[in-house]
């Protein structure tokens, strides 16, 4: 098991109380697994990614354990986490490609970054150049300013940079969403390539685009309003999902070859609940077409088949 998360609870501290952005999250990722994390905006997927590496105010750690390679991660202590960041666990945050320092050349930025972590740039440079070849970037980019690179080039540069020290876990937050379809495909395939070459042991790919995950991920975890809804292998989630939310989400996606005149798709009625004071029990209850009395209780996230976890009373009780 590369990553194991148990009962992780992370809230946002606001003047009006806690926003329950991540509530009782338990799951694990095996070695070499690319796990996709999907859900609507505001469901807590970015919070989950960030809390594993940079849990800082207004985020507040409440409880829970995170283990990476059987080593406990001190996620609640930002300075102790420094020993793990970049080396063991690395993140490509949302809009990372716009976060490259515009005033210095990319090579200089990498060397400063490495020396801050007490690594020698000269020693690592041959490996860096080898990886630049792999993502089809010329070595000249090291002498360029970020403004000289296109979006896709910057995204590939960030990918190389964040995996340079071969971390065991890479969190990639919406790295393909701002790119064109053709570039998107190339970057997504590079993620898989990096895993295959063992630059990164396992990955969490956060995106709202399930069709991308279908192409590259081994398993998909669907979140809804700060809670886990369903986790299973990619094929199961896309073709035979069990959670009503996953079912509705998958069926609302327009596919090539589907036209409104032939098959009218429908969205999910209603809105996501406010997480400042979420309803007790299942948070999807109000929008769920199959909700019943039991849904006022909190559904547990249980394994109903091998590697298929789900938090829904309807599906659990039918199985009994």
């Amino acid at each position: 098991m590369s990553l194991q998360i148990k009962n992780l609870v992370v809230y946002y501290q606001t003047l009006r109380g806690y926003v329950k952005a991540l509530d009782d999250v338990t799951f694990s990722i095996s070695d070499g697994e690319i796990m996709g994390l999907a859900g609507e905006s505001g469901c807590g997927k970015t919070t989950l990614g960030n809390s594993l590496i940079r849990l800082e105010p207004p985020m507040k750690y409440i409880k829970g354990d995170v283990e990476l390679d059987n080593e406990k991660l001190p996620v609640w202590n930002s300075s102790q986490m420094n020993a793990f960041r970049f080396k063991k666990i690395s993140i490509i945050p949302q809009y990372a490609m716009n976060a490259l320092n515009p005033t210095i050349k990319i090579g200089k930025m990498i060397s400063e970054l490495l020396s801050s972590r007490k690594f020698n740039y000269k020693k690592i440079k041959p490996e860096l150049e080898r990886r630049l070849d792999l993502v089809e970037l010329t070595h000249d980019v090291l002498n360029m300013y970020p403004i000289e690179l296109s979006g896709g080039m910057k995204q590939r540069m960030v990918l190389v940079l964040s995996t340079l020290l071969d971390p065991s876990l890479l969190i990639a937050d919406e790295i393909t969403s701002a790119l064109d379809v053709s570039t998107q495909k190339a970057v997504a395939e590079m993620l898989v390539e990096f895993r295959n070459r063992k630059f990164v042991k396992s990955m969490i790919v956060i995106t709202h685009d399930i069709s991308i995950l279908y192409q590259i991920a081994d398993s998909i975890l669907v979140m809804y309003a700060g809670k886990l809804a369903e986790k299973a292998s990619t094929n199961v989630i896309v073709n035979t999902p069990r959670h009503p939310y996953t079912k509705l989400l998958i069926s609302s996606l327009p596919k090539v070859g589907v036209r409104y005149t032939e098959k009218k798709l429908s969205g999910i009625p209603g809105n996501t609940p406010l997480l400042l004071d979420p309803p007790a029990g299942c948070r999807f209850r109000d929008r769920c077409p199959v909700a019943f009395d039991r849904c006022f209780e909190e559904p547990p996230f249980v394994e109903i088949e091998k590697d298929h976890y789900i938090a829904c009373w309807k599906e659990c009780t039918e199985n009994d």
Partner: protein
């Protein structure tokens, strides 16, 4: 309805505007009454520029845009107002389309001031209510609220309702659903389909190919300001002719099929525009020849209603 005749737009870039950047090159197409046409292309392909030229937000360098046989580049003041009575647009980011200090319904009162100063209060409120209902919103729930109190999907539908107040005939929808969540996306798309059935023509600008297929009868594929392929949506998607369209269709992430091994050429994307085919540098076709690099292929009709610009 709307007809573009050899429309080009060249931007001036560089310190003193010394460099010329052709954004749209000799684009001709038309949108008929009650038709949805998708304009598909990557970033930088000029799709938004075309939308803005139709809306007269930027000037046309050469060519003509005709709206019901009237050249829109020459119309002035009063006529221009009439033009905006018929043609409106909705843009990508609903969150930045509003002024956060004012309530969201201010967009309606501005329309009233500009276009309907003589309409009575009760009549006006009725009109607002009916157009809000037409876009699937409950007026009691959404009126009198600030933009931050409404969701992205609601704000976007608000903007469509605003356009409907004017009894428009043509809507430029520039990436209107790319900022919305999957669960509300389809609702906005269905709304467009419904408006279309009532006779509205829509130019649907998008980079998401599956959305384009869902809603439109015809699709136009743009690459670096040129139309590379145009025709019936089904033909474009299932029987593409141009190598670029083929590559694009193979790169769309789909839920029913895994990606095939199609090489995506990344390096040559930034190449200079030459006299030849715009796609020459990235073209992977085995039949690519030097002819392609010397002369730009014309847009020819391959089969009825299906145009492509490729020598192969």
């Amino acid at each position: 309805m709307i007809k573009l005749e050899k429309v080009s737009k060249t931007y001036r870039t560089g310190t003193f505007g010394g460099k010329l950047l052709p954004a749209v090159v000799d684009v001709s197409f038309d949108v008929r009454d009650g038709e949805v046409v998708s304009l598909i292309g990557e970033s930088g392909s000029g799709k938004s520029t075309i939308g803005k030229m139709i809306l007269r937000l930027i000037t046309i360098t050469s060519g003509r845009i005709l709206f019901n046989d009237i050249d829109i580049s020459t119309i002035k003041e009063g006529d221009l107002k009439n033009y905006y009575h018929d043609v409106q647009s909705v843009f990508q980011d609903p969150f930045s389309s509003y002024n956060p200090i004012f309530k969201a319904d201010r967009i309606f009162s501005i329309i009233r001031q500009e276009f309907f100063p003589k309409v009575k209060d009760s009549q006006w409120n009725e009109k607002v209510d009916s157009s809000l209902k037409a876009v699937g919103l409950n007026p009691d729930q959404v009126l009198n609220k600030f933009p931050h109190q409404l969701s992205g999907g609601q704000l976007q539908r608000f903007l469509i309702a605003r356009a409907l107040l004017l009894d428009i005939k043509f809507l430029v929808a520039d990436e209107i659903i790319s900022m919305l969540d999957a669960s509300t996306r389809v609702d906005v798309l269905n709304l467009l389909a419904e408006l279309k059935s009532k006779g509205l023509s829509i130019l649907f600008i998008t980079h998401d190919l599956s959305l384009g297929y869902y809603i439109s009868e015809r699709a136009i594929i743009l690459y670096r300001g040129c139309i590379v392929e145009m025709g019936d949506t089904k033909k474009i998607y299932f029987d593409p002719i141009h190598p670029y369209t083929k590559m694009l269709m193979a790169s769309v992430p789909r839920l029913d099929k895994k990606w095939e091994k199609v090489e995506v050429e990344l390096k040559a994307k930034q190449a200079e525009i030459t006299e030849g085919c715009v796609y020459y540098e990235r073209c992977k076709s085995p039949r690519r020849s030097t002819k392609c690099n010397l002369k730009r292929p014309d847009l020819v009709e391959v089969s009825p209603g299906h145009f492509a610009s490729c020598f192969l």
